[in-house]
């Protein structure tokens, strides 16, 4: 057995990465919810290291760090809390009541059209899986390029993120979504001209209600110049759009953006999952073409742990709330619904689509495809895989072509999985997956979604459409 000298261990996790049989575990991942463990006096998930008094050692370490620095703790990636996920649902396959579609021989529709509500040139992509916006700054130029190239190979969209629009990203992407972020770093009329679709950002799922963070380690001269900032600062970017201070203004702003894009380009709105029902209703009412809801499990380059773990709503519940809002307005078929936050495989995509999403976005998963190990240290800018870093010697390590190939493979495999599941449910078009295809395997998921508990046709909370 390995003995860890806790006083000497720096939590670098290198031993975990090199351990051939994966016998070591990463503390952050194991001690998923240290505060919960502490609160329950250690009766949390097995495997968590507890100290004498039943306090999780991660909690103890966090307190020690806060006591040392007097600061809240910042880290990268999404929450490590155990929250209900799409895994808490299963799909009901076809049998006699409905016939399956031949898995390997019949064609299936994956083509996805987004933003056709008002835009004369909606976004048409070949798979309902897109690359989530990850800013140039949070990730390297090479990683951005690989994502653009990889997503282009499968005919899907790339989204630039907060840190400006790299020329090589636009050049290599198949379809380019351009964000209008509160900070407007690297943003100008030109970005709108180059966009295939525009996305106004009101927050992300990992830290809804907070602005973008980019720690000094990544604020190199190059990144700072691209954003128009002084180098070396810890950035907490603009919290609100200087030109949108409320829903009424947003309505007028949309008219402005529509004039600029000549009514051709879809205009989406992204918001972190919080008061999803209300937010979606407002967004639909003011006239966007599509809404992205980013659930609580969504990733980030950096954010306060307290926000990452305690703000927001899990993706599972958020999709239902968003679908419900659009249905209540009679706009479900008009306004595109896109979802992100913790989507990892074709099953997640299939279930999200069945719950009402038209497409999903993948952030962390796409980074993992390029080599990321979700080390939670993205804020430090020391990524040994050349992804979450701006250091030239580390960036060099990312083989752009190989990373692009892997992103394309991952998206292809995931779309294949989606097709397999859709066909097994008797659907030729992945967009025909519906909530009636779903059952909940946990009471929590049943309560949260209104999807009946497995083996029943009943739900004990607010019903969700078909079962209402």
């Amino acid at each position: 057995m390995v003995i860890c000298d806790a006083s000497a261990c720096t939590d670098c996790a290198k031993c975990i990465k090199v351990c051939p049989p994966n016998a070591l575990r990463f503390p952050g991942a194991v001690e998923a919810a240290p505060h919960m463990l502490a609160a329950s006096n250690g009766s949390g998930p097995s495997g968590a290291r507890l100290t004498g008094g039943g306090w999780a050692s991660a909690t103890v370490r966090e307190i020690q760090e806060k006591a040392r620095t007097g600061k809240h703790i910042v880290r990268g990636c999404g929450t490590t809390r155990r929250l209900p996920t799409l895994d808490d649902l299963v799909l009901l396959p076809a049998g006699l009541s409905r016939m399956p579609v031949d898995t390997y021989r019949e064609a299936a529709v994956t083509r996805t059209v987004l933003g056709a509500r008002f835009a004369s040139r909606p976004l048409v992509i070949e798979t309902p899986i897109m690359v989530a916006p990850m800013s140039y700054g949070a990730i390297s130029r090479e990683a951005k390029l690989a994502l653009a190239m990889g997503s282009a190979r499968v005919g899907t969209a790339m989204n630039n993120g907060e840190g400006g629009l790299l020329p090589e990203e636009v050049e290599h992407s198949y379809r380019q979504i351009v964000q209008v972020c509160p900070s407007r770093f690297g943003f100008s009329l030109r970005n709108l001209e180059l966009a295939d679709a525009v996305e106004i950002v009101f927050g992300i799922g990992a830290k809804p209600g907070l602005s973008g963070h980019l720690m000094a380690e990544k604020m190199t001269a190059e990144i700072a110049a691209f954003r128009g900032l002084p180098p070396g600062i810890d950035l907490a970017s603009h919290p609100r759009h200087g030109d949108i201070f409320g829903a009424d203004d947003l309505m007028v702003k949309l008219q402005e953006l529509r004039q600029i894009t000549r009514g051709a380009k879809p205009i989406f709105l992204k918001v972190g999952a919080g008061r999803v029902y209300e937010d979606v209703k407002i967004a639909a009412k003011v006239g966007v073409d599509g809404i992205t809801i980013d659930g609580m499990q969504g990733g980030t380059g950096a954010g306060p742990v307290i926000a990452i773990d305690h703000l927001g709503m899990p993706t599972l519940a958020a999709i239902v709330q968003a679908t419900r809002a659009l249905e209540d307005m009679g706009l479900k078929d008009e306004v595109s619904l896109m979802v992100s936050g913790g989507i990892r495989d074709g099953a997640d995509v299939a279930k999200a689509l069945a719950l009402g999403a038209d497409a999903v976005l993948i952030g962390t998963g796409a980074m993992v495809a390029m080599g990321c190990t979700v080390c939670l240290e993205c804020h430090k800018g020391e990524c040994e895989f050349g992804i979450g870093t701006q250091k030239p010697e580390l960036r060099e390590r990312l083989n752009v072509k190989l990373a692009a190939h892997r992103v394309a493979n991952y998206f292809t495999a995931m779309t294949n999985e989606l097709v397999i599941l859709a066909k097994a449910c008797g659907k030729r078009d992945v967009h025909n997956l519906e909530r009636e295809d779903l059952r909940a395997v946990s009471l929590e998921a049943c309560a949260m979604t209104g999807v009946p508990f497995l083996g029943t046709d009943y739900t004990f909370t607010q019903p969700f459409g078909f079962f209402g």
Partner: protein, 233 residues
Amino acid sequence: MVEELDLEGLSEAALNERLQALAGRGGQVVLHNTRARHNLVVNVSGELDVAIQGSAGFYCCGFMNGPRVTVTGNVGWYAADNMLGGSLTVGNNAGSNLAPSMIGGLVLVHGSAGSRVGYGLKGGTVVVIGNVGMLTGQQMLGGRIVLLGAAGPGTGESMYGGAIFYRHGALAASGTNNRARGLEPDETGWLAALLAEHNLPLNPDEFECLAPTPGKQKYHLFKPRLDAREKAV
């Protein structure tokens, strides 16, 4: 040649297209019956003089690049948002959030302006002859703001770049992450020229300036205000 346009019955989109068609020829356009409508002179680029007879609503001159626009009345919130070049001169007052994320050009307000003038300003110059509300220049990245009247609290909050010029004693309170300093010689010359160009009878000596504090920024989270109290014996 001066073209007179009556906005009655004309949509903003149609107006802006018309202006764009005229831009680049160096002509003059007078807009009547604007009735404080939103999105006037949006995304128009090229040489053009536009005179708005009356007031404009939100987002006047948004994303504009080149025209010289004068408004005899007021402009609503967010005038000159994301503007790239040209000028906007407002005869009366401007609403809040004047020139947000503006990249270039000149905005001159003869009256007063609301809060958050130059929020996230990136470049160009904003001049307000009257008073301004709070948080002028919040998180501005560049550009220059010149305040001739009084300024509310939080001026220059968390500026990253650029400079805010104000008259001695005119700030209610400055925000964090900035410092007051005297004008540098090139700034004195620039300000003198600006004041002269716009017939503003003031001397640069009357001004000082807020600039960003170098290094990492400080944030408002928790700062106990400890009042002295008598300790129980």
